[in-house]
């Protein structure tokens, strides 16, 4: 009696392509995406972009720059990339800070004048010229890695300097412990203890302060998000919002399939409504629906998570409408491709989850390998999240949203035009 039930279920599954796709293709796709991101494919692991400004041009600073350039996990830029053959001028402290603010790199290092005279520090006021580390606080990993690698580069790329300074410190601290030396040593140890206690009380990590973290003195400063109360809220509001917008839009566009099946579509098209008018009406409705969803999502983030919503209204409206338009057009395309609701359900789940994983809705794209980051640019999610990040994180003006706005509008228009062409199958028999 059990075998006939199993047999019936197998036959039914075999004939249900939607269920087959969800059962077998979706898990494989997801597994592959996560395997690529986290599977330790070292040749494609994401490198951290670091902007490096050497104001000193001393032997020590040049050694340090070379040491950092040798680090395989860093991509060091000393000047902006040029689209022509003429190289652009090197970054300055100001232009490096602007570049981090604009999201061109998560970290900038500024080696100040005089670094070569006093490159090594054992912390505090014991010497060492402080290197500035400017960071974007939305990326919590990059500054810590860069700070660590900076110390490593210092240790390995400046051996002479290290030896010379080591002798100096030995003379200073070990050359016979006179009462005066004992007092100094005790004072220094006390300072270290106090610093440790302060860090523990503030819950901060060494990389986020100007603490002693190695022989090279580093002072970190967040140039983006330093005043944000909750760094990742705007990111997740956009990231999760876009993913669910895609689901809602495809479901809402699927009403077309219901109407086609019930004959309502036929009846509507026998009136004065043409297919183009009908689809434009549905697109308008779906765009407004998606925009309303975003408004609700961000208002919730404002009320519950204190997202700074009301000071970003213009950018939100621009990004919200463009995202909603692209997402609505995407839904229309899916609905026009599919023949049944079941097909639509399977295809939309497959595509939307894949797009969301690759496009940064599930975890930030900067954590992904480079190839995956580039692949993300083929998704609506990535452009939408980038745009919202510019608005809410970087506080950039509306005019700076032009790349995201252009891409989302173009995507929306292209998808709608394709959907309109495919919808010809409903127009006449």
């Amino acid at each position: 009696m059990i075998i006939p039930i199993v047999r019936t279920a197998i036959v039914s599954l075999r004939r249900d392509r939607a269920a087959l796709a969800l059962s077998f293709i979706l898990p494989i796709v997801f597994f592959s995406i996560f395997a690529v991101i986290f599977g330790g494919q070292h040749d494609s692991t994401a490198k951290i972009s670091v902007i490096l400004v050497d104001e000193d041009h001393s032997r020590a600073s040049l050694d340090l720059v070379r040491g950092l350039q040798r680090e395989g996990s860093l991509r060091i830029s000393t000047r902006p990339s040029s689209k022509t053959k003429e190289p652009l001028p090197e970054y300055t402290a100001a232009s490096a800070e602007a570049a981090v603010k604009a999201g061109e790199a998560p970290v900038a290092l500024i080696i100040p004048h005089g670094f070569g005279d006093n490159p090594i520090s054992f912390g505090g006021d014991q010497g060492g010229t402080t290197i500035q580390l400017l960071n974007d606080s939305s990326d919590m990993i990059a500054p810590q890695m860069v700070a660590g690698l900076l110390q490593k580069a210092g240790m390995t790329s400046m051996p002479e300097v290290m030896a010379e300074k080591g002798m100096k410190y030995t003379d200073q601290f070990i050359g016979g412990l006179t009462p005066e030396q004992r007092k100094r040593m005790d004072g220094y140890l006390e300072k270290l203890r106090q610093r440790e206690n302060r860090q523990a009380a503030a819950g901060t990590t060494p990389a986020q302060t100007d603490s002693f973290t190695g022989p090279i003195a580093v002072k970190s400063r967040a140039v983006v998000g330093q005043n944000k109360r909750n760094p990742m809220i705007s990111f997740y509001a956009a990231a999760i919002g876009v993913m669910f917008l895609l689901f809602t839009a495809s479901g809402s566009a699927g009403v077309l399939l219901d109407e086609a099946e019930s004959g309502t579509l036929d009846r509507v098209l026998s009136s004065r409504i043409t297919m183009t008018k009908l689809l434009m009406g549905k697109l308008t409705y779906n765009t407004l629906l998606a925009f309303t969803q975003l408004v609700v999502m961000f208002l919730w983030a404002r009320v519950v998570f204190k997202l700074d919503f009301f000071t970003h209204i213009p950018g939100f409206v621009v990004m919200g409408l463009c995202t909603a338009f692209a997402v609505a057009a995407f839904g229309m395309l899916l609905a026009s491709i599919c023949r049944t609701r079941a097909q639509l359900g399977a295809l939309s789940t497959l595509l939307i989850l894949t797009m969301s994983a690759v496009g940064g809705s599930m975890f930030p794209r900067f954590l992904m390998p480079e190839a995956m980051q580039k692949a993300g640019l083929w998704t609506i999610n990535a452009w939408a999240i980038d745009g919202f990040t510019k608005v809410f994180w970087r506080d950039l003006p509306v005019k700076d949203l032009w790349p995201q706005v252009s891409v989302l509008l173009a995507v929306g228009i292209v998808l709608f035009v394709v959907a309109r062409r495919i919808a010809r199958r409903w127009e006449f028999a």
Binding site: S262, G263, T264, D266, V268, S270, I273, A429
Partner: protein
């Protein structure tokens, strides 16, 4: 039954309404893959006339209707509505279509459904309100105006489906099996609605595979089979043209089926659902037929003498029953 007057709401203005034929179909043909759905159909519908399209499922009735309404592009032939080609805005305005499916918005109320389809046909403001009120009255749905379509009974849904098809007050109405799946009481209500519409001058095409409906509602009947009109005319005229003054005898016999079969064949009759059917020139010939049955050893159970009907005509012309 109180059916409202259609003249209370304005009809669609058409400049050449009076001088043109409401609907003219010429040599229409449509093939879907290997299936010739419509095969050279020509017909004409006059003002105030109700033309029945009678045929079994798959005969091509719906394809013909969908071609007229512009939802199917024919391979050959033409359709004109008051001299306007099908699918022009003038033709669309003059045509009302009641599809076989319940083409409604289930989550809208009756009133909202009618208003939505009215707007799709370009109605607005006072005209729309007036037309919605008239349709609710016509379909006897005034007291259910605020009910969601999905919550209506089957018969009410059918009536709302019909009302949505004539919300813009068309002069030519195409009804594709509007009584499918409704109980006899609702069916009678629908007949009354159609008769009221007809009485007000609308030209109607009514497709069905129920012979009784065609006989009751239609001035003329076109019998369709395999995409062709195989006979056309008033139903009495059709019966007369096929059977003249002949009558039909239906008799049930008790006996071995093989013997009954052989005897029926010998007398040029046929077996239908266990009954022997014969066409006889004169009703007096029935006595001789029954005598012969008795001599052949068949025991008569019952016998009926009847005038042939449209079903008989269909059977005679196609060799198949209408509901096959």
């Amino acid at each position: 039954m109180n059916v409202p007057s259609i003249s209370s709401a304005p009809l669609q203005p058409l400049s050449n309404l009076l001088e043109s034929i409401p609907l003219e179909v010429v040599s229409l043909a449509k093939r879907f893959g290997q299936v010739q759905a419509v095969d050279g159909i020509s017909l004409e519908l006059r003002g105030g006339e109700c033309l029945g399209l009678l045929g079994p499922n798959g005969a091509g009735k719906s394809t013909l209707i969908r071609s007229i309404v512009g939802r199917v592009i024919p391979d050959e032939g033409s359709v004109s509505v008051f001299a306007y080609p099908a699918n022009t805005s003038e033709a669309r305005a003059a045509l009302g279509w009641v599809p076989q499916d319940l083409a409604l918005y289930p989550r809208l109320t009756c009133r909202e459904n009618l208003a939505a389809f009215g707007r799709y046909h370009g109605l607005s403001g006072g005209k729309l309100s007036e037309s919605v009120a008239w349709c609710l009255d016509w379909a006897s749905l005034q007291d259910r105006a605020g009910e969601l379509a999905k919550n209506l009974s089957g018969g009410m849904k059918r009536r709302l489906n019909m009302a949505a098809g004539i919300i813009h007050r068309p002069r030519v109405v195409l009804m594709d099996e509007p009584t499918v799946g409704v109980d006899p009481q609702s069916r009678n209500r629908i007949f009354e609605m159609i008769e009221a519409l007809r009485g007000e001058g609308a030209a109607i095409i009514y497709t069905t595979h129920y012979m009784e409906e065609a006989e009751r509602l239609c001035d003329r009947v076109a019998i369709i089979d395999h995409g062709r009109i195989i006979a056309q005319g008033a139903h009495e005229e059709l019966v007369r043209s096929v059977f003249a003054q002949r009558s039909q005898v239906l008799a049930h016999f008790d006996g071995p089926p093989a013997v009954i079969g052989a005897w029926v064949e010998q007398h040029a009759g046929r077996l239908l659902d266990g009954a022997a059917e014969f066409t006889i020139e004169d009703s007096t010939l029935i006595a001789g037929l029954l005598d012969d049955a008795a001599r052949s050893g068949l025991k008569l159970v019952d016998v009926t003498l009847r005038r042939p009907n449209l079903e008989s005509v269909f059977l005679h012309l196609t060799g198949r029953e209408l509901r096959d």
